[in-house]
Amino acid sequence: MLLGALATVRHALQSVARAMNRAAGWGFVVCSLLVTFDVLGRKFLGVSTQATVELTGYLLAFGIAFGLAHTLAERSHIRIDVLVMRLPLGLRQYLHLAAAALLVCLLGILTWAAWSLVEESHLFNAHDTSVIAVPMVLPQGLWAFGIAVMALFACVLTLEAMARLAVGDAAGVERLLGSRSLDDEAKEALEAAGTRTGAKETA
């Protein structure tokens, strides 16, 4: 019951996270076009945005923050779990959960810190010092939002993992929190069993 509700929330958040990651990606495409325009414009047309440093910086901040949650959903954030993976699954699940809980702690701190920064910029009514004088609450607000979504997602993930642990679903915990390498190792094992073809050999 609770497990089902948590899984539904997680799925919903995963879709949001995927959409945000897509936006982050397009942000980098825009960034490339902006800089290219700036380089060619100043060389051949004598025009420039005059604020490329600021604008590309904001696109980077946006890109990092909006990709965070999806990267967690894809289980791509880096852990050094070599030792963990040598333990039996029963023990392993607790370490997965500990890692997730500590990640929630970090993200709680980061979200709070990012939000405080936005509030401070609001108090100052801060703008950047470029020609276009962007209000800092805009890029910083989007950035803080991206971090907050990852924090929320990590929370839900941890709760669901706890619920799974409670009902004894250790494999489920691993599916939620284990590194991506696990599935792939399984896949590789299957491939190694004989389906592998076409590998060009050299060294």
């Binding site: 005059q50 440093v53 401070e120 801060a126 703008h127 010092t129 470029s130 020609v131």
Partner: protein, 339 residues
């Protein structure tokens, strides 16, 4: 008033200051480090324990110094007014491009503006204790020119909206690239020119990649010592008075260094050994200094009045225009007229 040379006994006060961009600028090695770090503790009879530091050592780049001080990470911070003007736009008006080629005048303007600036800053928990300049901010170029009129059409790396307005009015093309890339950009010709202090350019090795520099100061990178207001107000009045009196002396030294450093930077860059005492003498391909003629000076003043000042008021708001006319115009001699 509290004496600057002694302090009545009392509990120890430990202070953290973070004042200059990098550890090897003379503003730090010749003034802040020996004075805050050694002279003040000595004069205080050991009552003050002061740790000094620079932005870079703490991975800071400058615009965040107000907030650093405000949040109580340091007790006294320092950063150029224009650098932190994103947080408090009023501060930019103290050091606009073209406003004061004369360092005496620049000092009178800056000091007159401190009370007004403090009213604005105290709202966010910070207070200016004193202001000082960097060596004259000038233009370095990788190709020759004989007057600023020749600079028309060249690409110049700028920072901040006022400088941007200024170079645009000169007919130059402002380019926005990050500071760590400026050296290579000058070397390869991505930009033709860039602006920095005559001495800062020397420390940054710009003479290796540029050939000509202007000598007329565009602005002074006027910098302030900011104190965390809550800390400042809670200080023992004797300590506060002692600090106030000492910072007055420190600021005097900094203004002298600003004037000496400007000339010294030019001498060093142009390979004149006898005038080069503070920065490093350039022996290989010394630069050519281009002095401003009367026509250049007139053009710069006109750009300030017609473009830079109105541009700043537009960004900062009408109230900034009023405050400028009230406090700075009587010294700068240029009134802001709303259009």
């Amino acid at each position: 008033a509290q004496s600057a040379t002694s302090l009545p006994p009392g509990p120890k006060v430990s202070i953290i200051t973070l004042t200059q961009p990098i550890p090897n600028v003379p503003q730090y090695t010749l003034v802040d480090k020996p004075w805050f770090g050694e002279e003040l503790p000595k004069r205080s009879g050991g009552r003050l324990v002061i740790k000094t530091g620079t932005w870079a050592e703490n991975s800071l780049s400058g615009p965040e110094i107000l907030r650093l001080t405000r949040s109580g990470q340091v007790d006294i911070g320092a950063a150029p007014l224009t650098t932190v003007s994103g947080d408090v736009p009023l501060l930019d008006g103290v050091d606009l491009a073209g406003m004061s080629p004369d360092i005496q005048k620049a000092r009178r303007i800056a000091e007159a503006a401190v009370p007004t600036a403090n009213k604005e800053l105290e709202r966010v928990g910070v207070r200016i204790l004193g202001v000082f300049p960097y060596p004259a901010q000038v233009i370095f170029c990788r190709q020759g020119f004989s007057s600023i009129a020749d600079l028309k059409g060249r690409k110049i790396r700028t920072f901040g909206a006022s400088l941007n307005d200024f170079v645009t009015a000169l007919g130059m093309q402002p380019v926005s690239i990050g500071f760590p890339e400026v050296y290579s950009a000058l070397e390869r010709g991505v930009v033709d020119c860039a602006v920095t202090g005559s001495g800062s350019g020397n420390s940054g090795k710009w003479p290796e990649v540029t050939t000509h520099m202007t000598t007329l100061p565009l602005f002074w990178a006027v910098t302030a010592y900011y104190a965390n207001l809550a800390w400042w107000n809670k200080l023992d009045p004797a300590v506060r008075g002692f600090l106030e009196a000492n910072i007055k002396e420190i600021v005097d030294l900094q203004w002298k260094l600003g004037a000496d450093g400007s000339a010294d930077g030019i001498a060093c860059n142009t390979g004149k050994a006898d005038g080069c005492k503070i920065f490093n003498l350039v022996t290989k391909n010394p630069m050519t200094a281009v002095a401003a003629g009367p026509a250049d000076q007139a053009q710069i003043s006109k750009i300030f009045a017609d473009t830079v000042l109105p541009g700043w008021v537009k960004r900062c708001g009408a109230r900034c225009g009023e405050l400028y006319n009230e406090v700075i115009a009587p010294i700068s001699g240029v009134k802001y007229v709303a259009k």
